[in-house]
């Protein structure tokens, strides 16, 4: 008997079997496989009852061995274990339950399927258990059907169809779900029967969860065989029309994770119904987000843009682009530069939710403001009078990204031959942009002069000159002590700001990565810190840590101090402005 076996047997006697198993399996992959093999051998030889051991595994933080790592060893061993099916099912049910809401909670069921496949009698025996006590074993319907159909497709399919009309709804739900998990092996007859069954289910049932399972099953059936989409559309339509949030969530899962395998006509139906998504269902929104990302990654991202746009417009009061962070990432990372297209298109539409969406996209870019070149194909639909509308919307929503604002305005100036319009657009460069931002924007405009020509160049130069003269005016005022606020007021304001920022700072620090990777140590004096660390071999080691300055710079609009209301009023006005319909 090898050492590992002896160790494991000893651990069983000592009552710390699972801890020792995990300990032994650490390290290389081969090591884990070796431990698994030993566990199987010991169990099948009757030396150790693995089922009995693993049923004692609990998912508790900071006590016992790591739950998922330990369970994984069981999952690897299970297909090869000989044990009474009921005992196995009890253990599997326990381990799934212990996993809680974790994404990997159901992974043990896959091992259970393999366990049943290894001996077809197990599936049969398990099915009998379910029929005798559906309340206790209902959760095993789907894995047993999956395992059983791999041995006897027709028998277990027929059992599934029967269970789909079981008197207990929980059984029906699982049976309908199982219909989508069966490998039909392209058996057209069975596929049609499955669709027949689903048609009856959606016609008969009204339970949201059950309808959701029908949606998942019909999509699952259609994924490998697009020819079934005709009947599937009817089923989807009916299920989604009757269903609620759960049905929609099921559809969103298909949209999010299987969109590239689904027939286009099914995607259209799903997209149609997703418009009524409940914005409180974060999970559903996340699924939609993944789906949109995949649409945007297609050669023609238009359907993704249109869907996103329509979704936001349909839920303008309750939904923002913030919920679609993957889509934002996709827009920014797009090789076809759909960002410019979206900015142009959405500014031209001017709807609040879309323009705020643009702001959301641009806010997720760190570092320098993005320079935007408007999409000429989108702009070609705009009348010249709409240029001012776009420019004002840009300022209204993107005011805190002055370089981006200016680049959009300049882009508009380039697209028109109307000199008056160019001047009117250019006036916005001075007021409000330069008037508020004299740093990066000024530098950008100065650098842009050389890249422009004609009236655009003239207008930029004139804006810069106007701003220079404005600054001259301010400088000439000089120091007027009579205008300064009193020391009392200055102190009170400083205290007020301190209070204002200290709470958010503390909140931010709670989630800061600095807290995770560093320990804090306060130096009251000096610029360097010297510490001694005890080295195991060479004794105390001296380390010297020099403090460095760390800072970040944010340019604040000047009018926020001088006339915050006027600025706010103007921005609100620009944001609220509607296009004149002629």
């Amino acid at each position: 008997m090898n050492d590992l076996r002896l160790t494991l047997l000893e651990a069983q006697r000592d009552g710390n079997f699972l801890e020792v198993v995990v300990q032994s399996a650490r390290g290389e992959k081969d090591n884990r496989e070796h431990v698994t093999e030993e566990l199987i051998a010991l169990h099948n030889a009757g030396e150790i009852d693995l089922i009995d051991q693993f049923i004692r595994l609990h998912n508790k933080k900071n006590t016992g061995p790591d739950f998922f790592l330990t369970r994984n060893l069981f999952e690897k061993a299970l297909p090869h274990l000989n044990a009474p099916i009921q005992k196995v099912m009890e253990c599997v049910a326990h381990l799934v339950k212990e996993a809680g809401q974790d994404m990997a909670a159901n992974w043990t069921l896959n091992s259970f399927i393999e366990h049943c496949v290894a001996d077809p009698s197990r599936a049969n025996e398990a099915l009998s258990l379910i029929k005798n006590d559906p309340d206790q074993w209902g959760d095993f319907i789907s894995p047993i059907i999956v395992a059983g159909t791999r041995d006897d497709l027709k028998y277990y399919f027929a059992e599934t169809v029967n269970l789909a009309s079981h008197e207990k709804i929980e059984i029906r739900k699982r049976a309908v779900y199982a219909l989508g998990r069966i490998n039909y092996q392209h058996n057209s007859e069975l596929l049609n029967e499955a669709i027949d069954c689903l048609e009856k289910v959606v016609a008969r049932e009204s339970d949201d969860h059950l309808l959701g399972n029908s949606i998942k099953s019909i999509c699952s059936i259609c994924r490998p065989d697009h020819s079934k989409s005709g009947r599937a559309i009817e089923i989807l339509n009916e299920a989604l029309a009757k269903g609620g949030d759960l049905a929609l969530h099921a559809a969103s899962e298909e949209f999010g994770f299987n969109i590239n395998e689904l027939p286009e006509d099914l995607i259209d139906i799903i997209m149609h119904y997703l418009m009524r998504v409940n914005p409180n269902n974060k999970g559903t929104l996340d699924n939609i987000d993944y789906g949109v990302l995949k649409l945007l990654e297609r050669d023609d991202p238009n359907s993704g843009i249109e869907f996103l746009e329509n979704l936001l417009l349909a839920n303008a009061e309750s939904l923002t682009l913030k919920s679609f962070d993957s889509a934002i990432h996709g827009i920014l990372g797009s090789k076809t530069n759909i960002l410019n297209k979206i900015i142009t298109r959405w500014l031209l539409k001017g709807d609040r939710v879309l323009c705020e969406g643009i702001r959301e996209i641009l806010h997720s870019i760190h570092g320098n403001d993005l320079v935007v070149e408007l999409d000429t194909s989108e702009l070609s639909q705009a009348e010249s009078m709409q240029y001012m509308f776009i420019a004002r919307k840009t300022i209204g929503y993107l005011f805190f990204k002055p370089v981006t604002c200016a680049s959009i305005i300049i882009s508009l100036m380039r697209q028109t031959n109307d000199l008056d319009l160019v001047k009117e657009l250019g006036s916005l460069l001075f007021d409000p942009l330069l008037l508020n931002y004299s740093g990066s924007l000024y530098e950008y405009l100065k650098s842009q002069v050389d890249n422009e020509s004609g009236e655009t160049k003239t207008v930029i130069l004139s804006s810069l000159r106007e701003f220079d003269s404005y600054l001259e005016g301010l400088k000439s005022v000089g120091r007027i002590p009579e205008m300064f606020s009193s020391q009392d007021h200055r102190d009170a304001h400083a205290r007020h700001l301190n209070q204002l920022f200290s709470e958010p700072y503390k909140e931010a620090m709670k989630n800061s990565i600095v807290n995770l990777i560093c320990t804090k140590s306060l130096l009251l004096y000096g610029r360097k810190s010297i510490n001694y660390f005890q080295h195991p071999t060479s004794g105390p080691q001296r380390t010297e840590l020099e403090l460095k300055n760390h800072g970040t710079e944010v340019e604040f609009p000047r009018q926020e101090h001088l006339d915050p209301f006027g600025l706010d009023y103007m921005l609100r006005l620009f944001r609220a402005e509607k296009q004149r319909i002629t």
Partner: protein
């Protein structure tokens, strides 16, 4: 103390400034000043002439020729017609033989060479040579330099037994804290209060108090000027003016010699107040009103509240200065066309400055505090002196209303009744309806806009106020303030609350009816007309008190519109009759 006074004397820049202080000093010393400095050239070399006894000596005639700062070679005998030697020659050759009042011809004469600083060593031999050569029996020369003047000022104005116990430290503190104007002003106003707490029955004490306030204000002003920070001097001059009026007002209805002295002393303070105000505005404000954001940026604060508070304050000061110019113009009358023309020019400059200030500093389009309506009202009152300003006034009010309502609707920095700076920093507390109603539970802003909309015949603006009341401010008491029988007692010293308010100004009524109710309250009581400053033609003092103590401007000032309306109505009726 003497050093402080000496420094003050040395820094008196203009000859007129030293002129201004000397007559009071001489009067306080018990001399009878029979010739005071007038505008333009000296009276044959004499700036000030007085007669009397100093320190129990014989009665003599004192003729002063004054030179500010130090006396150097140029000032002694240079090309300028202001040089001292030619002036002394004029005194000897013209004034004494021909213009000395006959009743003083038999008295000994002392010609006083009066300089704010010192006679410089380089010119002393010439001065001594001149005086030795020209002295004779009954005529001597005396040197009254900064040291002597400081000694006399200390002796006759600020002597320990003449001053309340803690007055000297207060003056010193107010000078030491000029960099922190509010603290400096606090000490100076304490000083004024302590100087003013005299039994007013004793006229001598009242004269002494007014003169002490005057000399202390001068000291503060010159020090402020040297520090290039006139803030404390400005605030202190307002306080000094109001307290001086409280001390002097009884004398303006009497005609005794003492009363006349008190009147003169008050007038000196009024002139000094105007000098400080003009210097403050002409050096610090007027050159920058035409620069976009110029004065807003000059506040150099990251708090928009600071900018707003300061700019409305500046607006009020500009408007008050304009009102004084208007008053000066009325006072000089048609006889002094040159001064009247100067006043008109000042009015034009200030009018344009106010318009520029508003358009270039947009924070003036919405007060953060309801009581900034006081500054708005003073500005409107000043602008209303010229009909051509009416459209600008209406446009400004319209924008104020726009922004205030919009800001209230979207929970921004809407005007509120909070006064404490700390509370204002925390305003507005977003999303708290009770708070919003609490801090707008009363207002003088909206009824003032309604009143002026009515006066300017801007019905649409008036209707917007009415709608604002109906839609947002049903909980708010729209009110206007009027003086009552106690106002005369408290207005100039802010010693207690006074006046009454017309509550719930009926902006829901048609313009004419609302206006009648507002004006009826003006007529019902005579308290306004009985205010001493109003009775004595010094009505701008009421506005100074309103600005300084943050008291609303009473609608009585708008009664002129009623008279104008009556004229128009009568004309219409006349035409209808014809």
């Amino acid at each position: 103390m003497k050093l402080i006074i000496k420094q003050y004397l040395e820094s008196l820049k203009e000859r007129e400034e030293l002129d201004a202080i000397l007559p009071d000093l001489l009067s306080q010393m018990g001399l009878n000043v029979f010739s005071r400095p007038g505008r333009g050239s000296r009276q044959y070399g004499v700036d000030v002439a007085a007669v009397g006894s100093i320190d129990g000596g014989p009665i003599k005639v004192y003729l002063f020729s004054i030179k500010s700062g130090n006396l150097n070679r140029a000032a002694w005998d240079g090309d300028s017609n202001q040089s001292l030697r030619p002036s002394l020659n004029e005194i000897l050759d013209v004034y004494i033989p021909n213009h000395l009042p006959s009743e003083h011809r038999d008295k000994d004469i002392v010609i006083c060479i009066c300089v704010g600083g010192d006679i410089q060593e380089q010119v002393r031999p010439q001065v001594e040579g001149y005086t030795n050569e020209n002295k004779r029996d009954g005529l001597v020369f005396e040197e009254w330099n900064g040291d002597k003047l400081a000694e006399l000022i200390e002796k006759y104005f600020l002597r320990e037994d003449l001053l309340p116990k803690d007055a000297r430290p207060k003056l010193r503190k107010s000078l030491a804290l000029l960099d922190e104007p509010e603290a400096s002003f606090r000490h100076f106003s304490d000083l004024i209060t302590s100087l003013s707490s005299v039994e007013q029955i004793i006229d001598k004490q009242r004269i002494m108090s007014v003169r002490q306030i005057y000399i202390c204000l001068w000291v503060l002003f010159t020090w402020s000027r040297d520090e290039d920070n006139l803030e404390s001097a400005y605030l202190s001059s307002e306080r000094a003016l109001l307290y001086a009026w409280e001390l002097s007002k009884e004398s303006f209805t009497k005609g005794s010699k003492t009363d006349k002295s008190i009147q003169l002393a008050f007038t000196a303070i009024l002139n000094l107040y105007q000098l400080i105000s003009i210097q403050y505005l002409s050096e610090k404000i007027l050159p920058h009103t035409d620069k976009r954001d110029g004065l807003s940026s000059a506040v150099r604060s990251s708090s928009p509240l600071d900018v707003n508070l300061k700019l409305f304050d500046v607006l009020g000061r500009l408007a008050i200065a304009g009102i004084w110019s208007h008053w000066n113009g009325q006072m000089f009358g048609k006889d002094d066309k040159e001064r009247q023309e100067q006043c008109l020019q000042e009015i034009q400059v200030i009018t344009q400055a106010i318009k520029n200030l508003i358009s270039n500093n947009p924070t003036l389009f919405m007060p953060f505090k309801d009581d900034q309506t006081i500054d708005i009202s003073i500005a409107l009152l000043f602008l209303s002196f010229e009909d051509s300003n009416e459209n600008d006034m209406a446009a400004w009010l319209s924008e104020i209303l726009n922004r205030s309502i919009f800001s209230y609707e979207c929970d921004g920095h809407f005007p509120c009744i909070l006064r404490s700076y700390r509370a204002l920093l925390e305003h507005p507390k977003h999303g708290n309806k009770d708070y919003r109603e609490e801090v707008t539970s009363g207002s003088i802003l909206y009824p003032t806009i309604a009143l002026w909309a009515a006066l300017l015949k801007k019905e649409e603006l008036y209707v917007r106020v009415r709608k604002a009341k109906a839609n947002h401010f049903m909980h708010c008491n729209f009110q206007l303030w009027y003086p009552d029988e106690t106002s005369e007692r408290h207005l100039y010293t802010n010693s207690d609350a006074h006046g009454f308010v017309l509550s719930n100004v009926p902006v829901d009524l048609p313009v004419k009816e609302c206006l009648e109710i507002i004006w009826n309250e003006c007529e019902n009581e005579e308290y306004f007309n009985n205010l001493s400053s109003q009775k004595n033609g010094l009505w701008p003092l009421i506005l100074v008190a309103c600005r300084h103590y943050r008291i609303p401007v009473t609608p009585q000032f708008t009664l002129g519109y009623r008279e104008a309306n009556k004229g128009v109505d009568a004309k219409i009726k006349e035409n209808e009759h014809v």
